[in-house]
């Protein structure tokens, strides 16, 4: 970094011919088919000038109508009077020139001037806004981010009409410079947090960070951790909710999602719809989801622990059913459980990779037929099919893809640990797992906050409060403005 600053910066020449040579060399003109240079003589001052741009990144109609046509036909005192495009900036350094051309701008260089003009005519291709597929809701906005930064910012700004909503640009990547947009509420967000994120981004020493999915892995604190510490969401309304609370949202071009940080454990269990549904309905869903979390991580391992080590804990009817089912099965019980769990994971992975939209259907049908046949052939017992189907099915209730992996890997850890000493080792494994989770921090925020350690907040952990009673921003973010609603208090004083 220091080395570069001491280097003298290369700048543009006053002679157009020299500048043309520089351009042609820098952008491999002729070899790089995409790079275009157009020479014109301007009508207003009779000077020669050139336009340099990437043909694939710009809107050619716009170049013709707002630049070329006026230059050829219009009279005027200066360039600014002639060109009708909405934004023009002066650039001097060659590095700047690279940047602007790479970002889809037209650079205009006039003979006799030692600087160029950059005109924004960029048109990056992207998908239309579509429905959110991975985080679908019944009640609530359906739109999701798309692979265009501008569209994504506008989707968020649509929901927060506030001049304090800042979109700050940070560049990442040494060779390919990509924009990372930080979005936050200036009057709420904690400055130290912002500085930490900024420094993490500027310190990145990599050639290219293509998208947000890779950026997440570059900036997270513990890459080997089983728990995710950054929330990845494709819903603009979700992002807006978190911005309102004082979180920071990271956006990048060519990612149909955003990153939200810092984040706690609860964000992975919660779903936006919990807030969109009425108090009771939302909390009912939460209850179901926590039951699902318990089942998906524990039920197979509990089955292993109880039936292999503590058969006295199983009521006789169930025990005899398990025993009768197991009498003709060749494998030990724990192998049987692992077979079915791995089979389920295989079907799941195959289901994702099978071309749309038949995938899940074929997967489930495959599972049923496979399970049925395996049971009839006495390879596995029917109880296992129930157990693994239950644990597999409930895993879908954990909608966050990262946390879903956490839970699924955890399940295998628990099954194997239950195989050692039964409930005893299962509880040891669970305690260690939980202790590790509690020790984590996401950008300085304890993972299980505000449950432990406690902070002033809406205590939106297991269950949420009625919307009217939510009057705090989460205290663990140390926001500049802790109180988010004053209506409730006013109502009280009256």
């Amino acid at each position: 970094m220091l080395k570069k600053k001491t280097q003298t910066k290369e700048i543009l020449n006053t002679k157009l011919l020299i500048n043309l040579d520089i351009l042609k060399e820098r952008f491999s003109f002729g070899l790089n088919n995409d790079f275009s240079i157009r020479l014109i003589t301007a009508k207003f001052n009779k000077h020669e000038l050139c336009l340099a741009y990437y043909a694939s990144l710009v809107n050619s109609d716009k170049i013709e109508q707002t630049i070329i046509q006026p230059l050829l036909e219009q009279e005027g005192d200066s360039l600014f009077d002639v060109i009708t495009a909405e934004s023009i900036t002066k650039i001097k350094e060659l590095e700047e020139l690279d940047d602007h051309i790479n970002n889809g701008k037209v650079v205009l260089i006039i003979d006799g001037e030692s600087f160029g003009y950059s005109i924004d005519v960029a048109q990056f291709q992207h998908r239309d806004i579509s429905q959110s597929e991975n985080e679908s809701v019944v009640r609530g906005p359906k739109e999701s981010f798309t692979e265009s930064l501008h569209v994504n910012i506008s989707l968020i700004r649509k929901q927060i009409r506030n001049r304090e909503l800042i979109t700050e640009v940070q560049k990442v990547g040494k060779r390919s410079k990509q924009d990372v947009q930080l979005m936050y509420l200036n009057s709420v967000v904690n400055d130290q947090l912002l500085d930490e994120i900024r420094s993490k981004l500027t310190q990145l020493d990599v050639d290219n960070v293509q998208n947000i999915e890779l950026l997440e892995q570059f900036i997270e604190e513990r890459p080997y951790s089983i728990f995710p510490t950054i929330l990845y969401t494709e819903r603009p309304d979700n992002a807006a909710t978190y911005i309102d609370k004082g979180h920071v949202v990271l956006l990048m071009d060519s990612s149909a999602a955003c990153l939200i940080l810092p984040i706690t454990f609860w964000a992975f269990i919660h779903n936006v719809e919990d807030r969109y549904s009425r108090f009771l309905y939302g909390n009912f869903t939460r209850l179901i989801r926590f039951i699902a979390l318990f089942f998906t991580s524990m039920i197979s391992s509990l089955y292993v622990a109880l039936s292999n080590f503590h058969s006295e804990m199983i009521p006789p009817d169930l025990l005899f059913a398990v025993t009768a089912a197991r009498e003709r099965v060749p494998f030990p019980l724990i192998i049987e459980v692992l077979i079915m769990e791995i089979a389920f994971e295989l079907i799941r992975e195959a289901g994702i990779r099978i071309p749309n939209p038949l995938g899940p259907t074929i997967g489930i049908v495959g599972a049923l037929i496979l399970g049925q046949a395996a049971v009839e052939a006495n390879i596995i017992s029917p109880i296992i099919v129930i157990v693994s189907a239950l644990s597999g099915l409930t895993s879908f209730a954990i909608s966050d893809p990262s946390f879903n992996f956490t839970v699924r890997i955890t399940r295998f850890i628990f099954i194997i640990s239950a195989g050692f000493f039964g409930m005893f080792s299962l509880m040891i494994a669970f305690t260690l797992w939980f202790m590790y989770g509690a020790s984590l921090k996401s950008f300085g925020v304890p993972y299980f906050a505000p449950l432990s350690p406690t902070y002033k907040s809406n205590s939106d952990t297991y269950f949420r409060k009625a919307i009217k009673k939510e009057k705090w921003r989460p205290g663990y973010l140390l926001p500049k403005d802790l109180q988010s609603s004053r209506t409730f208090e006013r109502g009280k004083t009256k």
């Binding site: 006789p316 197991r326 003709r328 000493f421």
Partner: protein
């Protein structure tokens, strides 16, 4: 270093792994254990009733006809080692985890060997403390072999339903292993075991429904096994047996026992040749008020038992519901009847047993400074047999059911 410690950890896991693990299908689950005396001292006959898990299973590949259980008898000195002997002809490891009942023959229960053999059950972790102790009139092995329920063929279901229903009606006590040790070690009170038999010895009918011990209940059809009444244990030795009615009274007076409902007949006070059918239920625990005079080592016990009665049938067709005098007579008669029966039982316990089956010693313990003082006071020998006991039944409410009036006999037969 890291790899070494990691692989060390892994090896550790593999070496210790799966210790204690038993596959469910490699165990034989014993539902009932029977213990009998043999001709030799210190050698007992242990009978194990082993459940067949495949009985009643609808899984494909299992034959339709599966016998529900297998009963075996082996000889040994204690329950645990006898299971090992049994493995010479039982294919799987014999497990007592799921055992529901411990059946002891009356002969063994009455001998002083009983407490010795019971000790091992307290020591092992395998036997649950909630096992019910059943005293059978005949040999325990005969009891298990003769017991052939038709509806609940699977033995664990049979014992579960049979005991829980009989307990709800109060004709047998709650007699788990834990209570046995609690009372026996407490050196006060009498432990009541469940009394049952498969031998049929019907008693003459006299209209009452619960003045029987097991085996005496007249019946036709059904299983030969009867659970009725209780075996009285004093200091770990059986001394007597109580009828179903006496057991009910014990259950009513003991606040550690619960009766959900008990259907009982009482002589009709206005037409003694008939009986009044009632459903007696206890809404509150009995209030035991115990006053202890430490100088005289003498206790006065006042017991108030609130209860309610639902009239189920009045075959005499007397209009008790409409006439206040009749109603009062009925109330008094029911109270009197129960009080008489209770007094009789208390008298028997004070004079013959010289201890109480109601677990009342818990009320006197707080009057003593420490355990030696309590032991010196001696509930068994001194306090209880000489205590002044009054039991007061309070019939709080009399329900007459859906229909107040019975059929008017003279109008029907005119």
């Amino acid at each position: 270093m890291k790899t070494i410690s990691l692989s060390g950890l892994l090896i550790l896991f593999i070496l210790i792994g799966c210790e204690d693990m038993v596959e469910v299908d490699r165990q034989s689950y014993v539902i009932a254990v029977g213990i009998d005396v043999t001709d030799q001292d210190g050698i007992y006959a242990f009978t194990y009733q082993i459940a067949n898990p495949e009985a009643g299973s609808t899984l494909a590949g299992i034959g339709a006809e599966q016998i529900p259980d297998e009963t075996i008898t082996v000889f040994g000195t204690d329950i645990m080692t006898a299971t090992n002997t049994a493995n010479s002809f039982v294919t799987k490891q014999i497990i007592l985890d799921q055992t529901r009942v411990l059946i002891v023959s009356e002969a063994l229960a009455r001998s002083d060997q009983f407490l010795r053999i019971m000790q091992s059950t307290a020591r092992t972790t395998e036997i649950r403390r909630s096992i019910q102790i059943i005293v059978s009139k005949e040999n325990a092995s005969d009891f298990i072999n003769n017991n052939s329920p038709v509806l609940e063929q699977r033995p664990h279901k049979y014992y579960q339903y049979m005991l829980s229903r009989a307990k709800e009606t109060g004709i047998i006590p709650d007699a788990d292993l834990h209570r046995f040790f609690q009372i026996t070690e407490g050196d006060a009170d009498l432990f009541l075991g469940i009394y049952a038999t498969t031998t049929y010895d019907p008693k003459e009918l006299d209209g009452s429904e619960d003045e029987f011990v097991a085996g005496q209940v007249p019946k036709e059809g059904g299983n030969v096994t009867q659970f009725m009444g209780s075996a009285v244990f004093k200091e770990g030795i059986m001394i007597d047996r109580l009828t179903g009615e006496e057991t009910r009274i014990c259950n009513i007076l003991d606040k550690t026992m619960n009766i959900n409902e008990m259907l009982a007949n009482y002589p009709d006070p206005l037409a003694p040749e008939y009986q009044v059918a009632t459903d007696v239920f206890q809404t509150d625990n009995p209030k035991v008020n115990l006053n202890y005079d430490s100088e005289m080592n003498h206790a006065t016990i006042d017991v108030t038992v609130p209860f309610e009665v639902k009239i189920l049938a009045i075959p005499s067709l007397i209009h008790y519901s409409q006439n206040e005098d009749f109603k009062r007579t009925l109330r008094d008669a029911i109270e009197q009847y129960i009080t008489d029966a209770t007094d009789e039982l208390i008298k028997k316990s004070q004079e013959a047993y010289r201890s109480d089956p109601f677990y009342w010693s818990i009320y006197i313990r707080r009057h003593f400074k420490d355990i030696p003082a309590y032991e010196e006071g001696d509930w068994h020998k001194n306090i209880y047999p000489n205590a002044d006991i009054t039991v007061n039944y309070q019939l709080k409410r009399l329900h007459f059911g859906k229909m107040l009036d019975d059929t008017k006999l003279d109008e029907v037969r005119d």
